[in-house]
């Protein structure tokens, strides 16, 4: 996945937090660029072609949502947002502006590296366009050509909605999708507010895909934000 431009751009104004990111990235085998303001971050993101952008949402000049929007105008580089736990509304705004994922402070260096892996892999998949052929996640296999799903070798019959729901999450490849994003993709823009549809169908899908629907391995809720498909390493 990583080409010549495997450097990771950290946009973080706090020098201590930046130092910690730098050390964690170095230990993970990544080169690190850094920016201390949103404006500088946007220009480095567009100029230096980093493989991933780490974006702290509390910057002195422009808002994280604005940074995301400006980067997204010209680049599809994966953006991982770093935020505090009590800011769901903000997380949702960032994801809808085009961020790929978020990390909640406090997080460990291991989590950071794991999310970077997910972002890089997801980026590689989305660059290839619509998924085709067989995609395997744990013991779930989706055949995008035949539109069929097997779990641990057994065929599982999904309704069209359930199949669309699963494929939207598979396409996101580990990224968090907000409730509205999923509703728009699966049901259409007019249904973006119908979170109850999503809840009901997510539960149905879990009962078909998961061994135990209340201890999901794959279809995991992010309280107040949305859902993600957990991809086992």
């Amino acid at each position: 996945v990583s080409t010549a431009s495997s450097a990771i751009l950290a946009i973080e104004d706090d020098p201590h937090a930046r130092l910690l990111l730098q050390v964690a990235l170095r230990d993970g085998g990544y080169e690190c660029l850094h920016a201390t303001t949103g404006i500088e971050g946007v220009s480095l993101a567009l100029k230096c072609d980093p493989s991933v952008v780490l974006l702290d949402v509390m910057l002195p000049d422009i808002d994280g949502v604005e940074v995301t929007r400006r980067i997204r105008e010209r680049s599809s580089v994966p953006i991982i947002v770093i935020s505090a736990r009590t800011q769901e509304a903000h997380k949702i705004a960032l994801l809808e502006a085009g961020s790929n994922d978020y990390l909640t402070k406090p997080f460990s260096a291991g989590e950071l590296i794991a999310r970077i892996h997910v972002a890089l892999r997801g980026h590689a998949v989305s660059e290839m366009g619509q998924p085709a052929g067989l995609v395997t996640i744990g013991d779930v296999t989706i055949d995008f050509d035949r539109r069929s799903v097997t779990v641990a070798g057994r065929d599982v019959l999904l309704s069209p909605i359930e199949y669309r729901l699963l494929s939207v999450l598979v396409r996101a490849n580990g990224r968090v999708l907000t409730n509205r994003q999923i509703l728009r993709e699966v049901w259409g823009a007019r249904y973006a507010g119908h979170a109850n549809y999503l809840r009901v169908y997510m539960s149905k899908l879990r009962h078909k895909i998961e061994r135990n629907a209340s201890q999901p391995k794959y279809l995991v809720n992010e309280p107040s934000v949305g859902y993600r498909l957990r991809v086992p390493n």
Binding site: P106, R199, S203, A213, S214, Q215, P216, N221, P223, S224
Partner: protein, 366 residues
């Protein structure tokens, strides 16, 4: 006036008590009237009637009050409307009397009901605010200890005049104390989500299956070596709650179960749908709790025995659960299980059940 209102009306059994009390008022009034003592004439009855209804309304709310009104009208008809001691259609004069008395009772009951709700609401807000303030002050106090250690250790590390062993010991000290500080601050931040007005600001229709799954995923690392058994009905209705707070309640309860699991490395999480509520339980196979602790465990902070650092803020964790559940108009309690171990149960109002209760449209949600 506040003492007059029954503060436990939301608990089961109280509703029945209200109707029984209403019935008792009607029977007493009727019996006294039948004695035909000179002072107990129609005028006395009509004057005493709203008093009886209002007493019931104050204590037990609108349902029992309406039943008392109806019973009173029937009793008046039975005793005073000729022919006496038989039910008959009242004439225009008696009809007018009945209508006026019922209207008086209805208007007063409506006023009382509004007042009663205000008093109960204020009492609940005061309770939540008390828990929240105690938690906040306990937390702020507990922040000082690790901060003090961190500053000291940090300064010592900066001077660079430490033996290699000391250097390592101080590094560990910094990591440990910072971790403790981090846990405390996380709790503090979560507490700020709980408004001081006792209202849950971020409640929406949510699925307990989602939140239980999210909590277990978040605890994955700590649950290694534990067997987690979940029993969540697949047709569970959505409930209205703040998913971030309720997820944290579950995380706190599971952490507690891990802590006290002793040799029984099995944790059970179940959800039951009862008539008016959803009951969530987290059970362990540890040693259980003493009878004294059973009542006090959620109240630790209120008694001023703030969760001192030796339990890593665990008492704080349960007090937090108590504050969150109370703010959701639920109840939380702890019991010992017959087979050994402790179980914490908490309730969340079931919106479909309450709708069915109020509107008589049971089962409108499939």
């Amino acid at each position: 006036m506040a003492f007059f209102f029954d503060k436990h009306r939301h608990m089961n059994g109280s509703r029945l008590r209200g109707y029984l009390a209403g019935l008792a008022v009607v029977v007493l009034g009727t019996t006294l009237s039948i004695t035909r003592l000179p002072v107990l004439n129609t005028a006395a009855f009509t004057a005493a009637f709203p008093l009886g209804v209002l007493t019931v309304a104050c204590r037990f709310g609108i349902g029992p009050a309406l039943m008392t009104t109806l019973g009173g009208v029937l009793a008046f008809d039975f005793v005073f409307v000729p022919p006496a001691l038989a039910f008959a259609l009242p004439g225009p004069v008696d009809g007018m009397k009945i209508a006026l008395v019922v209207m008086t009772a209805a208007v007063a009951t409506a006023v009382i009901e509004r007042l009663r709700r205000q008093v109960l609401g204020a009492r609940r807000r005061a309770e939540i605010e008390g828990v929240r303030n105690a938690l906040l002050s306990g937390l702020s106090h507990d922040l000082r200890t690790p901060l003090h250690t961190l500053v000291g250790a940090g300064n010592a590390l900066c001077t660079g005049r430490l033996e290699p062993g000391e250097h390592q010991a101080f590094s560990h000290l910094v990591a440990d104390e910072a971790g403790r500080l981090q846990r405390l601050v996380t709790r503090l931040l979560e507490l700020t989500r709980l408004g001081s007005d006792g209202v849950v600001h971020h409640a929406s229709a949510c699925s307990l299956e989602d939140v239980i799954g999210a909590a277990i995923c978040r605890m994955e690392g700590q649950l290694v070596g534990f067997e987690v058994v979940t029993d969540v009905p697949s047709n569970l209705p959505a409930a209205r709650f703040d998913p971030v707070l309720v997820e944290q309640v579950l995380v706190n309860l599971v952490e507690n179960a891990i802590r006290y699991a002793a040799s029984g490395r099995r944790i059970e999480i179940a959800v039951r749908q009862e008539r008016l509520q959803l009951v969530v339980e987290v059970a362990d196979h540890g040693p259980g709790v003493s009878a004294e602790e059973q009542d006090s465990v959620f109240q630790k902070l209120r008694r001023g025995r703030a969760a001192r650092a030796e339990d890593g803020g665990m008492g704080l964790g349960l007090a937090f659960c108590h504050a969150v559940v109370t703010a959701h108009l639920g109840r939380i309690w702890l019991e010992n299980r017959p087979g050994g171990g402790a179980v914490v149960r908490f309730t969340l109002p079931d919106p479909s059940a309450s709708r069915a209760w109020q509107g008589g449209i049971a089962g409108s949600l499939s």
